[in-house]
């Protein structure tokens, strides 16, 4: 029975997100199924906790049945909309929709890589199923909330140690980071609500789902970006084989993987919105960019990287009105930040220090010496200069995603080189985990550049 209920708890987010994403993805999109179910699963994994949160806000106790019924209603609505659609409406002609058939050797390699990926997911899945909650921060400030919310069937507030003491602990709980977003603990609550008992292994299965969804969406978005199936699966293999990414699945409990997947999904959709103009990609980009805010505090700076990128999108570049709106939004956001919580800004400014050479050493070691991401660091070192040889690569084709990622990398470097958080790089406690949040997006850009170079090489060799 537990197996059935756990499976149901995993299927609901897949169906919920998938059915809604299915409504917006054009019929002729390359690798459409992967695009729908990869992105859809990520959407579902973000939505389910929000449903729990919303029901709690309305005073409804946390319940698998209630939330499941609400999710079912949303799924039925999606199916109804799908069925009522006018099937005769002309489909949008899509670049790259007709992927060339693979030669047998490519097909064999494709399936070999797929099998290797399946084997990896099984390995990681078994590790999750057998192991109780293990990692440090998971038991310090993520699962603490899940444990209490599951027990009380409501989102009992968590406050700082000092506030907890001042309030005499009446109606409040405390842990190390009471202000962290609710999404990840609520996913664990969702899994435990399904079986009705606290299970430290089964509640971590969404991490495996997140990995698979990230890989599926990554493959599909590469296909949309004109990559061949073999190139796309090859780079998906690179993504899903990164040791630190695997570790964050095997030892589930941290939010970094979810943030990395969501930010990457936002970047991919954003880039493909810019290049294809599909409204669906724009909607996904917006959803995932805001989704970053719901996962971890670092989600805010990553979400902000889309603002400069958006300003440089070719089709909006010359529209002064849009630019003005965006700048205004940024200013409004800043004003809100200062007015509602000036301590946040003061804390940010107070953490700035002189150049932190140990932070630089630690960052270099984490990316280029340790095996955290296999050879990703070297791929970036090689592919970015090579990308400069592609006419218009960084000034036109990949401008927007490059700007977003450059902003993210600069913020990452600033954090570890010029703030008190440099210690997180010199002792390796923070740098690798933050890299997880950026690595998928950087690999996506590398994959597209590599694909461009391969296509150009093929064209050059076949030219008369």
């Amino acid at each position: 029975m537990d197996t059935l209920l756990t499976s149901l708890a995993l299927i609901v987010p897949i169906l919920l997100g998938g059915l809604w994403v299915n409504l917006i993805i054009p019929a002729q999109a390359p690798a459409r199924s992967a695009l729908v179910w990869g992105n859809g699963t990520l959407v579902g994994l973000l939505l389910i906790p929000q449903l729990l949160w919303g029901l709690d806000a309305l005073g409804v106790p946390l319940s698998f049945v209630t939330t499941g019924l609400l999710a079912c209603a949303l799924m039925i609505a999606a199916v109804a909309i799908h069925l009522r659609r006018d099937k005769s409406s002309p489909s949008i002609p899509i670049r790259g929709a007709t992927a060339y058939a693979m030669p047998p050797s490519h097909r064999a390699l494709f399936y070999l890589l797929l099998c290797l990926l399946a084997a990896r997911c099984i390995t990681l899945g078994l590790e999750i199923l057998w192991r109780p909650l293990f990692p440090w921060d998971a038991t310090m400030h993520w699962a603490t909330k899940a444990r209490v919310w599951f027990e009380f069937h409501q989102l009992v507030p968590f406050v700082d140690n000092d506030v907890w003491l001042q309030m005499g602990s009446e109606g409040v709980f405390t842990d190390r980071h009471p202000d962290y977003p609710h999404t990840v603990p609520l996913l664990q609550v969702w899994m435990n609500l399904a079986t009705g008992q606290w299970n430290e292994s089964l509640m971590n299965l969404p991490w495996l789902l997140c990995l698979i969804a990230m890989g599926t969406a990554f493959y599909a978005q590469l296909r949309v970006a004109s990559a061949s199936p073999l190139t796309a699966i090859g780079f998906t293999y690179l993504l899903l084989s990164m040791p630190l990414v695997n570790i964050h699945v095997a030892l589930a409990g941290y939010a970094d993987l979810f943030l990395g997947a969501t930010y990457c999904a936002a970047l991919m959709a954003f880039h493909n919105w810019v290049t294809t103009g599909w409204r669906s990609q724009g909607l996904l980009a917006i959803f995932f960019a805001f989704g970053c805010l719901l996962i971890k505090d670092e989600g805010l700076p990553w979400a902000l990287t889309f603002i400069p990128a958006l300003l440089l999108v070719p089709r909006t570049r010359h529209k002064i009105a849009k630019l003005a709106v965006l700048v205004s939004l940024g200013l409004v956001f800043l004003v809100i930040l200062i007015q509602t919580n000036p301590a946040v800004l003061a804390q940010l400014l107070g953490s700035v220090t002189e150049f932190h050479p140990d932070g630089l050493t630690g960052t270099i070691q984490a990316v280029w010496l340790h095996d955290n991401f296999h050879l990703l660091g070297y791929l970036l070192l090689a592919i970015i200069p090579m990308g400069l040889t592609i006419p218009g690569a960084f000034t036109k084709t990949y401008l927007s995603i490059s700007v977003a990622l450059t902003c993210a990398v600069l913020m990452f470097l600033f954090l570890f080189l010029f703030t008190v958080f440099g210690a997180g790089a010199s002792n390796f406690t923070g740098v690798g985990r933050l890299c997880i949040q950026l690595a998928p997006g950087l690999l996506f850009l590398s994959a597209m550049l590599c694909n461009d170079l391969l296509i150009r090489g093929r064209e050059a060799s076949t030219a008369p």
Binding site: M140, V148, Q197, N199, P243
Partner: protein, 384 residues
């Protein structure tokens, strides 16, 4: 294209082997003159434990304290004559701690030790260059075991060798295929190498990639009439190097999976926690929880050890738990009230004086309390 890629990778691999053995041999290769110290089970000096020799295997049963110690009859040897140590051990599934110990004649009272990080000990080659303190004249070289009373370990080989290209490659292979279970730092970084490893695997993969690309360039020059430069071959060489590096990571993951299976399979959440790394702490908490008067009681967790304090606090949830990482371990006395519980997790600066019913700590007011539960992991008291 595939054939060219494979050929380039093979040539790159051969070049890597040549460079490693010719340009990076152990430092003292040229001056080594001694014959190897070859394992002889019958001649081994067993200091702790009960030995039984079967063929060339020493079967050692650890003593009542779970200790075992075997010394090699080395006499006085020059450390720089021995670049590699080979170990072949078979230990119980829960892996007792194995340590190589050695003492220099200059400082016989300060022996050096290297605790084996790898749990793949069926055939383990170690480069002595990476062992801190492996220098000067050595008069004692031994293997120390620390496990459960009555545990049996089988020692098939414990030998020391001078440098050779083959041994160097075997040592690198051992480094790459070594395994140790997850630790608390696993979430932060994965180096891919142990402290005693000679090279980072990433560096080896990058070297393989570079040599393979050079080999491809060479093939293009030699077969300029048949071969044409293809970017796809470069991509495949990169991909091949990544996959080779990844296979070692997969190997490590599979080792971990076997270990995890052995430890946890078929157990409920409670049984897993009782068998896991925090077994003592979890057992302590589960014994305490039923003794607390009300589910709404406040519980303050204190410990000098951050990990133990944090884990104990977690296991106490969903009780209303207070544990502070950076603040004072306990709030001021005025913030506490009668009926509050305090868990003193060992090691703790706080002590409970059972005779006077007081919780005491340096430079703090004493707190009146009564004992609720106590075992070696900690003590829980209730404030009066």
């Amino acid at each position: 294209m595939i054939r060219t890629t494979v050929l380039a990778l093979l040539l790159g691999g051969a070049a890597l082997v040549a460079v490693l053995t010719l340009l990076f041999p152990p430092a003292s290769t040229t001056v080594q003159q001694s014959p190897p110290l070859v394992w002889n089970a019958a001649a081994a000096d067993v200091v702790f434990g009960s030995p039984t020799v079967i063929d060339s295997v020493l079967q050692l049963e650890l003593d009542g304290a779970g200790a075992g110690l075997v010394n090699l009859p080395t006499g006085n040897i020059d450390a720089q004559d021995f670049s590699f140590i080979h170990l072949a051990l078979e230990t119980p599934a829960h892996h007792p701690v194995v340590t190589i110990i050695w003492a220099n004649t200059q400082n016989p009272d300060e022996p050096h030790a290297y605790m084996l990080e790898s749990q793949s000990q069926e055939s383990l080659w170690l480069s002595t260059e990476e062992l801190r303190g492996w220098n000067g004249e050595i008069d004692t070289l031994g293997l120390r075991f620390s496990g459960g009373a009555g545990d049996t370990v089988h020692i098939s080989d414990f030998s020391a060798f001078p440098a050779s290209a083959m041994r160097q490659l075997q040592s690198i292979h051992s480094d790459l295929t070594s395994y140790a279970p997850w630790n608390s730092a696993a979430m932060n970084t994965y180096t891919g190498a142990f402290n005693a490893a000679s090279f980072y695997p990433t560096m080896l993969a990058v070297a393989l990639l570079a040599f393979s690309l050079l080999a491809y360039g060479l093939l293009l020059v030699i077969f300029r009439k048949k071969l044409q430069f293809k970017p796809a071959v470069v991509a495949l060489i990169f991909f091949g190097s990544w996959i080779i590096l990844d296979m070692y990571w997969q190997n490590r993951l599979l080792h971990q999976l076997v270990d995890t299976h052995r430890q946890f399979v078929g157990k409920s959440t409670e049984e897993k926690l009782a068998a896991g790394p925090d077994a003592k702490l979890y057992t302590f908490v589960t014994q305490v929880k039923p003794l607390l008067e009300s589910a709404n009681s406040r519980l303050f967790v204190t410990s000098n050890d951050v990990y133990s304090g944090m884990r104990a606090a977690y296991y106490f949830y969903p009780l209303n738990v207070y544990w502070s990482l950076y603040g004072p371990a306990l709030p001021p006395k005025k913030a506490l009230r009668s009926g509050d519980y305090i868990a003193l997790i060992q090691p703790s600066q706080f002590t409970f004086d059972a005779e006077r019913n007081r919780v005491t700590a340096p430079k703090r007011q004493q707190l009146k309390a009564e004992l609720v539960f106590s075992d070696p992991s900690g003590t829980v008291v209730r404030l009066k």
